[in-house]
C-alpha cells in the first residue's frame, strides 16, 4: 500500500504485466505500463477515496482507500 502523503514511485507486477504508479502532490497516476493502448497512463489522477485507475489488460486496479460516500458507482 502507498500513502498519498509522500512523493514516490513504485513498480507493481500484476497478473497481466507491470505498472509503475507515481504519487505526486497527493495524487496518484500511472507513470508507465506494459499494456498496449496505455489508457491507464492517460487516466486522470486519483486522489479522493474510492477514485480508481484501471488497467484491464494488466488486470491492475489502483483505488484510493478511505471512508466512501457511496457503496458503488455507475457510469
Amino acid at each position: 500500500m502507498l500513502t498519498l502523503g509522500r512523493n514516490q514511485a513504485e513498480r507493481f507486477i500484476s497478473a497481466g504485466g507491470e505498472v509503475v504508479v507515481g504519487i505526486e502532490g497527493g495524487r496518484a497516476v500511472v507513470l508507465a505500463s506494459t499494456c498496449r493502448h496505455k489508457i491507464c497512463q492517460s487516466s486522470p489522477p486519483a486522489s479522493l477515496a474510492g477514485e480508481r485507475i484501471i488497467c484491464a489488460p494488466n488486470r491492475f486496479l489502483l483505488e484510493i482507500e478511505g471512508p466512501k460516500f457511496v457503496d458503488t458507482v455507475t457510469g
Binding site: L61, F69, T72, G75
Partner: protein, 317 residues
C-alpha cells in the same frame, strides 16, 4: 409420563434461550460482508455480498463461470451464431429494437469499425463512407433459422449495449439461488443490488459526473438494476468535436445531444440497453412509456439534469 415442575420448565426455557443465542452467535461469526474484484469485459467487476465464509469461493466461481461464458460468446470476432446463449440474447435484443423503434440496434458493428473504435485507430469517415455502411444495419434484416442467426453479408453484431447487463442479471440470480440475500454486483457500471447495504439502508449508488471528477448525484436503491451510457466513456476528439462510441443507427454518426443517461429498473439488461437507446433517441419519453418500471436520469449537452419515467430516489449535487 410425569408433568414437569414449574422449576424444570423454567430451566428448560433458559436452556432453549441459551441455545438460540448460541446459534445466533455462531451465525454472526460466520456471516459477514465480503468484497472482491474480478476482471471481465475489459473492465473491473466489483462484488460485495453478505455471506458465510464458506460461500465466498462458490460465489466467485459462479460469477466467473457466468461472466466467462458470456465474454466468450459475445466477444467481437468470436461469435458462434448458433450458440443457445447468443440466440437467447438476440431475441431479447430484438424485442428492445422493436420497442425503441430501431434506436437500440446490435447491428451497428460496421459503424464501430468504420469509425475506428474496434481498432482504436479513430477516424472521422467521409459522409459517403457512412452512407455505404447504412444498408448493413437493421435487426429486421437478420433471420433466425433452425435456432441459428443468419446475417446478410457484411453485417456485424455489437453486443456492447446489452451483454454486460444480461451477465449481471444472470450472476445476481445465481447468487440468490445460492442463498445470498444482500449485496451488489457491478460490472463496469452495470449493476444489480439487492437487500440492504451494510448500514441496513438502501444502496447508495453514485452516478459518475460526465464532465468532471466525482458524482453527478446519488441514487438510493435496492432490489433493482442500474446502468449508464455516456459520451465520455469511449470517445475521441477531432477539431474540437467529440465523437463517442455509441451510434445513431439511422444517421450512422455517433450519438450527440446528451452527455450521459442512467437507467434504473428491475432488469440490468434492460437498463443497459435502454441507457444506450435513450442516449441516441430524440424521443426518450416515448421509449420509457413502453417500460413503465424504468426511470432515467439524463444529462443533456448543456449539462442540465432531467429525470424521466418512473420516479427515483435521486439526490442531485
Amino acid at each position: 409420563m410425569s408433568t414437569p415442575s414449574p422449576a424444570s420448565k423454567r430451566f428448560g426455557l433458559i436452556i432453549f434461550l441459551l441455545s438460540v443465542l448460541a446459534n445466533c452467535g455462531v451465525n454472526r461469526i460466520k456471516e459477514g460482508w465480503q468484497s472482491y474484484t474480478l476482471f471481465f469485459f475489459d473492465t473491473v467487476c466489483d462484488v460485495q455480498i453478505f455471506c458465510q465464509a464458506k460461500q465466498i469461493k462458490p460465489t466467485q466461481d459462479e460469477i466467473s463461470r457466468i461472466f466467462g461464458e458470456i465474454e466468450e460468446n459475445f466477444s467481437p470476432g468470436h461469435q458462434d451464431l448458433s450458440s443457445p446463449l447468443v440466440v437467447e440474447l438476440f431475441q431479447q435484443a430484438r424485442q428492445v429494437y422493436l420497442n425503441t423503434g430501431g434506436v437500440f440496434d446490435i447491428t451497428v458493428g460496421p459503424l464501430v469499425e468504420l469509425w475506428g473504435f474496434s481498432s482504436k485507430a479513430y477516424r472521422v469517415p467521409r459522409a459517403e463512407e457512412v452512407r455505404a455502411v447504412l444498408p448493413l444495419l437493421g435487426m429486421d434484416k437478420i433471420r433466425l433459422e433452425a435456432n441459428k442467426i443468419v446475417l446478410r453479408p457484411g453485417m456485424k453484431l455489437d453486443w456492447g449495449g446489452i451483454a454486460k447487463g444480461w451477465a449481471v442479471d444472470r450472476a445476481a440470480r445465481a447468487l440468490d439461488e445460492i442463498g445470498i440475500r444482500r449485496g451488489f454486483i457491478n460490472a463496469g457500471g452495470d449493476l444489480f443490488c439487492w437487500g440492504a447495504n451494510p448500514d441496513n439502508k438502501d444502496w447508495r449508488v453514485g452516478i459518475q459526473h460526465p464532465r468532471q471528477k466525482g458524482y453527478l448525484g446519488v441514487l438510493s436503491i435496492s432490489n433493482i438494476g442500474a446502468a449508464t451510457s455516456g459520451d465520455y466513456q469511449r470517445y475521441f476528439e477531432r477539431n474540437g468535436v467529440r465523437y463517442c462510441h455509441i451510434f445513431n443507427p439511422t444517421s450512422g454518426n455517433p450519438a450527440r445531444g446528451r452527455q450521459s443517461v442512467t437507467v434504473i429498473g428491475p432488469a440490468t439488461m434492460l437498463c443497459d440497453a435502454l441507457s444506450t437507446a435513450l442516449l441516441v433517441s430524440p424521443e426518450p419519453e416515448a421509449i420509457l412509456k413502453r417500460y413503465p418500471e424504468y426511470g432515467a436520469i439524463i444529462v443533456n449537452s448543456c449539462g442540465e439534469v432531467v429525470m424521466m419515467g418512473k420516479s427515483l430516489d435521486f439526490l442531485s449535487f
